[in-house]
């Protein structure tokens, strides 16, 4: 019975990510088009909203190519572990007070740790492709993703400190409105580091199309390629949801169903900001990216932590 329940939840989560990816791609096309003073998709459905429904069959009908020189077993296996961790990380997100798919006592740590498995999958796919561009992309992705994990976890830590618990449901119920201004720097750090974790622009140097074609997934095609794309959009959705819960109190000030709607609105706003950043800023160089992480974000995150720690005993 519980297993069935779990499978249902799993299907719901994967459907949320896949559907969210479809909607997200459409939304991103619209947002990017507006930023570039174009219209974006507008032919299929109202405001082009059915464009992605036309694109999914297109992807399904694409030929699946496995290059001759690639390490075939690893090449085929890697996309599974790109998408799996992202879908799994959704399990701990509390959507409303007392309501999360799995109520885990170390949920915050789980959410920060599990998507990191993606790094290994990306490195495997890059190495297995037997392609110079992929290899460079994979190495860049690894260096970037592991580095930005540090400021990201430190930023979330300041909220954990305020809540005194690693249980996402406890964080949500303990959340106070003044946490948002107090941890705002933390949120900005989390936001930047999350963009780097997703390998999205402007931090998309591992897949920079103008120099590395598509980086670590240059040799992937069809649905295998789509699983990388879905993982990217999935982690954008998951990171935005988590950010909305942890830094902006989920459905606060509403509760119940209205709270869930508000949470979705906050999530969409954060996602739109992620897209806005992508389509506005130029791509930095690899060394600029790494020194920004280690010389700016990490010290700032530590400072944020010390400030919260110093304020907390007097509250």
């Amino acid at each position: 019975m519980t297993l069935l329940w779990g499978f249902l939840w799993g299907v719901a989560s994967v459907a949320t990510i896949a559907g969210g990816a479809i909607l997200g791609v459409w939304w991103e096309r619209k947002v990017s088009a507006r930023i570039q003073m174009r219209y974006g998709p507008q032919q299929i459905g109202p405001y082009g909203s059915l464009q992605m429904i036309a694109d999914v069959p297109k992807l399904l009908f694409k030929e699946d190519i496995v290059p001759d020189l690639a390490d075939k077993a690893v090449f085929k296996l890697a996309p599974l572990f790109v998408f799996g961790p992202v879908a799994t990380s959704m399990v701990v997100i509390p959507f409303a007070a007392g309501w999360a798919p799995v109520d885990m006592s170390v949920g915050i740590l789980f959410f920060l740790a599990v998507p990191s498995i993606e790094v290994i999958a990306i490195l495997l796919s890059a190495w297995a492709s037997h392609n110079t561009l992929s290899t460079i992309g994979g190495l860049r992705a690894t260096a970037q993703m592991i580095s930005y994990e540090i400021p990201r976890s430190l930023a979330v830590l300041s909220v954990v400190l305020l809540a005194g618990s690693l249980r996402p449901l406890d964080v949500l119920s303990a959340w106070q409105w003044w946490w948002a201004p107090l941890t705002f720097v933390g949120f900005v750090i989390y936001f930047i580091a999350s963009i780097a974790e997703m390998n999205r622009g402007p931090f998309d140097i591992p897949e920079a199309d103008s120099e590395l074609v598509a980086g670590y997934f240059a040799d992937y095609s069809g649905m295998r390629w789509a699983s990388f794309m879905m993982a990217e959009y999935g982690s954008m959705i998951a990171a935005s949801l988590f950010g909305a819960v942890v830094f902006f109190g989920g459905g606060w000030p509403l509760s119940g169903a209205a709270g869930v709607v508000l949470l979705v609105i906050k999530t969409v706003l954060i996602m739109t900001a992620v897209m806005w950043v992508k389509w506005t800023f130029p791509r930095p160089r690899q060394d600029q990216l790494m020194s920004f992480c280690w010389k700016v974000l990490t010290p700032l995150a530590l400072l944020q932590l010390v400030i919260v720690g110093a304020v907390l005993p007097w509250l």
Partner: protein, 120 residues
């Protein structure tokens, strides 16, 4: 984690998450054409012939960042139990943690000074 039931739900999540990709791949296999030829199965480098094998030694810079990551990730994980137990332990633990963070920051400053953060 409250009990066995939650573990089962989690396991189901992992299974669905991993099975989703093979499922779509099967659908694609049924629908998509497959006419491989020599050119298609070639390594894709924008049409130019790949020069040399890509499986080579790479620059040390990446390795240095991996080492830095190991050090700082462990220290970050150390901070988590501290944050959770903060309420019970009071001011003393705060001072202790400020010292710990200062040591962390000193480590970062040292790595910075030694040029570990410089891209080579």
């Amino acid at each position: 984690m409250q009990g066995a039931a939650d573990h089962i739900v989690l396991a189901a999540f992992v299974i669905i998450g991993i099975l989703f990709v093979p499922l779509t791949l099967t659908a694609s296999r049924l629908l998509a054409p497959s006419k491989p030829d020599e050119r298609k199965l070639d390594t894709y480098e924008c049409g130019s012939e790949p020069i040399g094998p890509p499986w080579v030694q790479f620059r040390i810079g990446y390795y240095v960042y991996a080492l830095l990551f190991v050090v700082f990730d462990i220290e970050t994980v150390f901070l988590y139990p501290w944050a959770v137990a903060f309420d019970h332990l009071g001011l003393f633990i705060l001072v202790e943690m400020v010292i710990f963070i200062a040591i962390l920051a000193a480590g970062l400053a040292y790595a910075w000074k030694e040029g570990a953060l410089r891209w080579r």
